[in-house]
Structure formats: structure tokens, C-alpha cells
Amino acid sequence: MEIVGQLQKQYVDFINSLFREGYLDDQYVQLQKLQDDSNPEFVVEVVSIFFEDSEKLLNDLASSLQQQVVDFKKVDGYVHQFKGSSSSVGAQRVKNACVAFRNFCDEKNLDGCSRFLNLVKQEFYLVKNKLETLLRLEQQILQAGGTVPLIE
């Protein structure tokens, strides 16, 4: 039982730091609230889709910015999608980077777009890493026979 307590504390500290540093926002909590015994894998499923979708979007973004003639509308479309999906999982910093990215699309600023693609990519891999750690901690708690604390 002591192990569970330790893991839970680790989990709470970690997820609180993610909220504090803006990696995650309240939408992540909303996802957790939708998970229950009838849908015990809901968060993992949604987060997995987010990871897959995002990789694809990053590739699409990179290739669209490499075109001879850049179609900024298309680029904006991808960023809009990315903004939407990151917002839906609570990946706040990714979402904010996408919002800023879109301004450069509006301005048809290739340099700005390239810079922000890098930023969005960075933020994505950061939050991916954090989420993987978080979900791993959750698994450890469950395997040790504990329950995952819900932070409000």
C-alpha cells in the first residue's frame, strides 16, 4: 500500500506541474472524467489518436511548406486541424503555438511559418513525452492496486 501512496503522490505532483507549466489544461481533466469502468481506456485511446494524427499533420505541414509555391491556405488548414485536436485533448501549449502559427499563414509569411512549425513540433514532442510519462504512472498505480487521483 505504501507503494501505491508513493506512486499517487508522484502522479499528483507531476500532473500538477503539467497544469502549472501550461502543458495541459482543464480539457485533459474533462477527458479523465469521461473515463469510467465501461470505458477504462478512453483517455489512452484519445491520446493515441492525437499522437498519430499529429505526426501526420507535422509531415503534411513540412511538405506543404517545402513546395515551390506555398499554398498558405492549405497550410492554415493543417494548422487549424492541429489546433483543434490539441485543444480537444488539453494540450494547451501546442494549441497556443498553433494559434500564433496561423497569424503567419494569414500574412503569408514563409519564414514565420517555418519557425512556428518548428515550435509546434517542439511543443508537440514535449507534451507527448509528458503524457506518456503520465499515462505510465497511471498504469503503475493501477497495477499496484490503487486508483488514479482525479485532480480538479
Partner: protein
């Protein structure tokens, strides 16, 4: 379906091109005990509703029609606004222009808080406009719209001769709701109010 009132299950059709958002809305709706069908485009939604995209519904269309939709009972359509091809607004319009589907309540979801977009949708007959990401508190707002349609459906089932009567009741209700909404809009709601309240509907934002 035409079932008796003992089975109050509501069937919601959710339309969104984003897989994540489809998963989310499906979970939100199922948590509220609704039966859910999700599709990824407006044209698939129309197909599911039994309406061919190119169909013209003439005002003379009889109530006895061989259309597929009569076997599919959808009580509410909730759709994303920004979708490639047919937007949520286009879908809303097609539903409201269809004599067979116009009484189905439609709710729009959007990631962007654009007042002109919102009023456009409300003017076209949307019941609610939810800002994404959609939450359980938003989904709770669907109940009254669903209850209204079930109530009217039961009247139609019980009184075959009086289809016209129930449709008139609905028309009056939606007209007075629209009047209230327009009034509220005219009062000049500024876009940065986070929770403006209009009679008849609530704009939800984070």
C-alpha cells in the same frame, strides 16, 4: 421508429471530420445515455438521414414517401461547423429546407467564437451553438430540445389526422424562440463576454 413512450432513448447523429472530436462527442453523448451515430461529413449525414444531397423537396411532397429516412429515427443532429466540402452551416440549411427533416433540432459546434457565424447559424434555425471543446455541461443542454421533438412525435402518432396541428405548434414555438434570440442579439452582446445569456439558448465558452 414509432415506438411507444415506454422507450425514451434518443438517437443523436454527430457529424465531425476530426476523429478525436468524433470520439469525444460520442463519449459525451453516450455518457448522457443517448444512442449515437457518428459520421465524418455532411454528405454522409444527409445519406444517413435518407436525404440525397441533390434531392429537391417540393412543398407538395406527401407524407407517405418511400424514403429510407423513415426507418432511421434521428432526434437531433450535432455538427461541426468547419468541415471540408459541406460545412455544418450547409448541412443545417439542407436539413431545414427539407420538408421531411426540418423538425430535427440541429446544434452547431465550432472551435472559433465568431459572432457573425453564430448569428448566421441561429438565424438558419440552429438550436444551440457550442464552442469546442464541447463539455458535459453543453451536452446537458440538449435534453429540452430532444424532449420537445419526442413530445411532438407522440402527438403525431396518436392523432394521425392532426399532423398539421403538431407542426403548427412547433412552428409557433420555434418562431417565438427565434424572436427572443433576435431580440437578445439586437441588445448588442459584445464578443468578449464569456457567458452571454440569451432567452432560449446559451452560448458556452471556456
Amino acid at each position: 421508429m414509432g415506438m411507444a413512450t415506454t422507450d425514451p432513448q434518443f438517437h443523436v447523429l454527430a457529424v465531425d471530420d476530426s476523429l478525436i472530436d468524433r470520439k469525444l462527442i460520442e463519449r459525451l453523448l453516450k455518457t448522457s445515455s443517448y444512442q449515437v451515430t457518428t459520421v465524418d461529413s455532411g454528405s454522409k449525414a444527409l445519406e444517413f438521414l435518407g436525404l440525397n444531397e441533390n434531392d429537391r423537396n417540393t412543398p407538395n411532397e406527401t407524407s407517405v414517401s418511400p424514403k429510407i429516412h423513415q426507418e432511421v429515427d434521428v432526434n437531433l443532429v450535432i455538427t461541426d461547423y468547419c468541415m471540408p466540402g459541406m460545412t455544418g452551416y450547409d448541412l443545417l440549411k439542407k436539413i431545414k429546407e427539407s420538408s421531411s427533416l426540418k423538425n430535427i433540432p440541429v446544434v452547431i459546434m465550432s472551435s472559433e467564437n465568431v459572432p457573425s457565424r453564430i448569428s448566421r447559424c441561429m438565424e438558419e434555425g440552429a438550436e444551440e451553438f457550442f464552442l469546442k471543446p464541447v463539455r458535459l455541461s453543453d451536452v446537458n443542454k440538449l435534453k429540452p430540445h430532444l424532449m420537445r421533438t419526442k413530445c411532438c412525435k407522440n402527438i403525431q402518432n396518436q392523432e394521425n389526422q392532426e399532423n398539421k396541428q403538431s407542426q403548427e405548434i412547433q412552428l409557433q414555438t420555434s418562431q417565438s424562440n427565434n424572436n427572443n434570440k433576435r431580440k437578445a442579439m439586437d441588445e448588442g452582446i459584445s464578443p468578449d463576454r464569456t457567458r452571454p445569456r440569451y432567452s432560449g439558448f446559451t452560448l458556452v465558452s471556456n
